[in-house]
Amino acid sequence: MSDFSEIEDKLRKLRPVQPSADLMARIERELSEGRSPDLRSETARHTSTAGVLPRERRFHFNWLSLGLGLAAAAALVLFARIQLERPVKKMPALAAITPAPQLSSPVATAEFVPAGLTQVVYHTRDEGVHFPNNKPMRRVRSHSRETLQWRNPKTGASLRISYPSEEVSLVPVTGQ
């Protein structure tokens, strides 16, 4: 590889034309006019420099980001209000598989009367033949959700309690 040190030396001996004194004056004017006294002292407090070269870091308030942020927050609040104020959808009526039970619950006062019991079996599993008491029995495990409902005929208010349940039943195996 050829050596370029000689041409580099020759280039470095070339001195760029000095800028006009007017440019320096313009820069000085810009620096002095560009800041109010308050801003100047504020900047001086937060500005650091390593030696000759000043190193400045200042927080810049970004109005565009603030505006976008506020708009997004307002939209979120508006959306949440709409969600809260939307009328509750009526659930499709479930088929009562049993007649309304006459429960003597503490809730079932004179004002609230039992309105129905719903039982939905959503999973059944045959766990095979077992021999409790030396008799062949098929064990069936089922999972269901039961819902009890009360209504107040005067006000139309209703109360509903729903809970999951698990039932294990033993079905006798009969040989035919």
Binding site: F4, L11, V17, L23, M24, I27, R40, S48, P54, E56
Partner: protein, 163 residues
Amino acid sequence: MENVATDGNWKNCFSQLAPGLVLFARQWSRSAADAEDIVQEAFVRFWRKQHDIANRGLLYATVRSIALDFLRRDSRRARREATAVSEMDQTVQPMFEIEDESQRAVVAALDLLPGEQREVLVMKIWNDLTFAEIASALEISQNTAASRYRYALAALKKNLPSV
């Protein structure tokens, strides 16, 4: 220990960088006055945005960006005005303080370099930027910056047999 930067620090900084910055801006402007306008606008913009002055790549990128904008505006203006004076008749203002004929030959050889090589050379030789800073300012890789520098030196060496 950190010092507090004052307007005096900025002025001192500018006085150190100004010759190199103006030379850099001359790559895109026909006159020294235009180059000084470019440098003024770039430096003031850089200062107002409170950039870290140690980030010289960004400062030179700002000068370059404003110079290119200036060049586009200047070209449009020149077309609009359609003056009778051709560009060849305009006085070419020197970029360097030439002391002898050998330096004149070097400057003439510099003028023959492709723009992308010359700007790297100007940043490296007369502004003391590192290849990393040059790469940052020109948005190229360091290898590309180093290659352009070597190509420029090789071309100068070829065009200046006495060197």
